[in-house]
């Protein structure tokens, strides 16, 4: 009895210390996440522009979204970018990582070099690429003409080329992906390949039956994070194209930002945010559901 009571007292003390340690996070969670989430649901059902008192609208904001042509444009722009950039980034970084994985001399040099652009992400990079993409005096069209004899398009200033331009620019910053895939590749036991070679497997079969299955958990995680990230693009669109030309780069979050902080339609912006949330949850669930058929998890022996 005595010992048990002392134990519970100690356990209680430990719980108290636990709560004290976690307190900052709890305050942040309640005050900056849970509370705002709940009020975001509320605001999404109102018209509110900060200056005037809010007015109850019910589901009118959500109904408006369905008939808002700019919402559909932004959804289309963001989806095309998402598919294009996730696929391009994943394929390229896997390819570069697999080449780096073949006992390359100077590996750390290449790794440093390839990661370099990721360090300088943000507005400075957008500035740099605006200059590179400039149709008249940008370096890209100059090189295309000098090296390949191709007259380059107007890149970000062209309605058709603006999105591909931004996807291309995104490829410049895949260093992080390369490092992650490289680490994954290096974690595949060499015995697997040796065994496959004894069985007479060629490079193609090794890729299909060892490399890809062993890498699938990493690919899966990168896919989910890539999709989420691509739906939250803002800086490039705001700085480089301002959503144009002719709404060709009106990304979802840019449209949301404009509603919230340029036209101060706080209620409508909140509704847009929840629609974005629903889209991301749906996409994540779809990928996760499909994962059971293609993601291979090492069964633990012990």
């Amino acid at each position: 009895m005595e010992a048990r009571r002392r134990l519970t007292q100690r356990a209680r003390r430990e719980e108290l210390v636990f709560y004290l340690c976690v307190l900052p996070w709890i305050i942040g969670f309640v005050g900056l996440q849970l509370g705002p989430m709940i009020s975001s649901v509320f605001f999404s059902l109102t018209a509110y522009n900060i200056i005037m008192p809010w007015r109850w609208l019910g589901l009118a904001n959500y109904k408006e979204i369905l008939t808002d042509q700019y919402f559909w444009i932004s959804l289309r722009v963001t989806s095309i970018y998402s598919v294009g950039s996730v696929a391009a980034n994943m394929f390229t970084s896997l390819f570069v990582a697999s080449i780096l994985n073949r006992d390359i001399k100077g590996l750390s040099w290449f790794r440093t070099l390839y990661y370099l652009p990721s360090v300088v992400s943000g507005v400075a990079v957008s500035m740099l690429w605006m200059y590179i993409f400039n149709p008249e005096f940008g370096i890209l069209n100059y090189l295309l003409w000098e090296v390949f004899g191709i007259r380059g398009p107007s890149w970000i200033y062209s309605e058709t080329w603006a999105l591909p331009s931004l996807i291309l620019m995104g490829l410049w910053g895949i260093g992080g992906g390369i490092i992650i895939y490289l680490a994954g590749l290096q974690g595949i036991p060499t015995e697997l390949y040796e065994a496959a070679e004894i069985d007479g497997a060629g490079g193609w079969r090794k890729l299909l039956h060892i490399t890809l299955p062993m890498m699938s958990p990493v690919i899966y995680f990168q896919l989910v994070m890539g999709i989420i990230g691509s739906f939250q693009v803002f800086t490039q669109a705001y700085v480089m194209t301002q959503g144009g030309p002719h709404w060709a780069t009106l990304f979802y979050v840019l449209y949301l930002y404009r509603n919230a902080f340029e036209t101060f339609r706080m209620g409508y912006a909140s509704a847009l945010a929840w629609v974005l949330f629903a889209i991301l949850v749906t996409l994540t669930l779809l990928v996760t559901r499909s994962a059971s058929s293609w993601v291979h998890y090492e069964e633990s022996v012990n």
Binding site: P24, I26, L116, Y131
Partner: protein, 296 residues
């Protein structure tokens, strides 16, 4: 007998030769490819560097000049005089350093509790930490703006730095994973030596977690230094509190399409701190990317 043995040996030699030839070809392809990719990566950087020191008239003409002679170093001072970039740079430094401090004060403590202390609600709370990692920031963006407005924080650094003292799910998760790998017998030894919960945290866990703490500091640095949307939301109205990214964007609005040399000079200054950090602390960058990218 002998002929078959000889044929077998010849065959094996042939196969060995073919293998080494294909390996050599593969290596040649690999190095060529890697170097070409490296050049593609460096061309924009070189272009930025060379444009930053070009004269005003030299920005457009072709063929482009890769090494401008003479270099116009005064572009840097001109850019800093045209727009108060010095001020913006200082603001960014203050925000970034405060943000790092906030993350390093709050996150390790929370992570320690999740890694080492027992509590009935622990698992539920930890699932909530993970759940907030999934929540897109846009969902809370509008209510937070309204909240900070009520607090009269618009136009101050507070909305950018105060939340960092209340923990960050990513960093908490990263640190908890790292703390969990520290052998428990070390804790027990410290307990025998008379350490309490906090003693074990400050004397065992923290000193052994320097790499993880460095990773958190670096991530937090990169986040605050490059952040554009949050300062745009909260600091737009107060020009003296603009950050470097906002200054660059404003500069684009005012001089974009004309003064590329000054624009590149200012951009260059803004990327020097992260570049320096990367070169001196590369190990922690790579480690952090791998931890967060592979294990999730």
């Amino acid at each position: 007998m002998t002929t078959t043995a000889q044929a077998g040996r010849a065959d094996r030699e042939m196969r060995g030769l073919r293998k080494s030839v294909s390996r050599a070809l593969g290596d040649a392809f690999a190095y060529t490819f890697l170097i070409v990719v490296g050049v593609i990566i460096l061309v924009p950087v070189a272009w930025m560097l060379s444009t930053a020191v070009k004269s005003d008239g030299n920005v457009y003409p072709f063929p482009p000049q890769w090494i401008p002679i003479p270099p116009h170093w005064e572009n840097f001072t001109r850019a800093f005089r045209a727009v108060p970039f010095g001020r913006f740079f200082l603001n960014t430094v203050v925000i970034t350093l405060t943000g790092i401090t906030g993350a390093l004060i709050s996150c390790p403590l929370v992570a320690y509790a999740f890694a080492r202390l027992r509590c009935r609600a622990k698992n539920v709370l930890f699932v909530m930490v993970l759940a907030t990692m999934m929540l897109p920031g846009q969902v809370t963006m509008v209510p937070l703006y309204i909240l900070y407005r009520r607090l009269n924080w618009i136009g101050t650094f507070a909305p950018l730095v105060v939340p960092t003292f209340l923990g960050n799910a990513y960093y908490i998760f990263l640190l908890r994973q790292f703390f969990s790998t520290i052998p428990r017998p070390l804790d027990d030894a410290a307990t025998i030596d008379g350490c309490g919960y906090i003693g074990r945290f400050t004397r065992i866990i923290l000193p052994l977690s320097k790499p993880a703490l460095a990773t958190v500091a670096i991530f937090s640095f990169m986040h605050h230094w490059n952040d554009f949307m949050t300062p745009m939301i909260y600091l737009s109205s107060s020009r003296t509190r603009w950050t470097m990214t906002m200054g660059l964007n404003g500069f684009r609005g005012a001089y974009g399409g004309t003064q590329w040399n000054m624009l590149m000079a200012a951009s260059l200054v803004s990327v020097i701190p992260p570049l320096l950090l990367f070169f001196f602390a590369q190990r922690f960058f790579i480690q952090g990317i791998v931890i967060t990218g592979v294990k999730g």
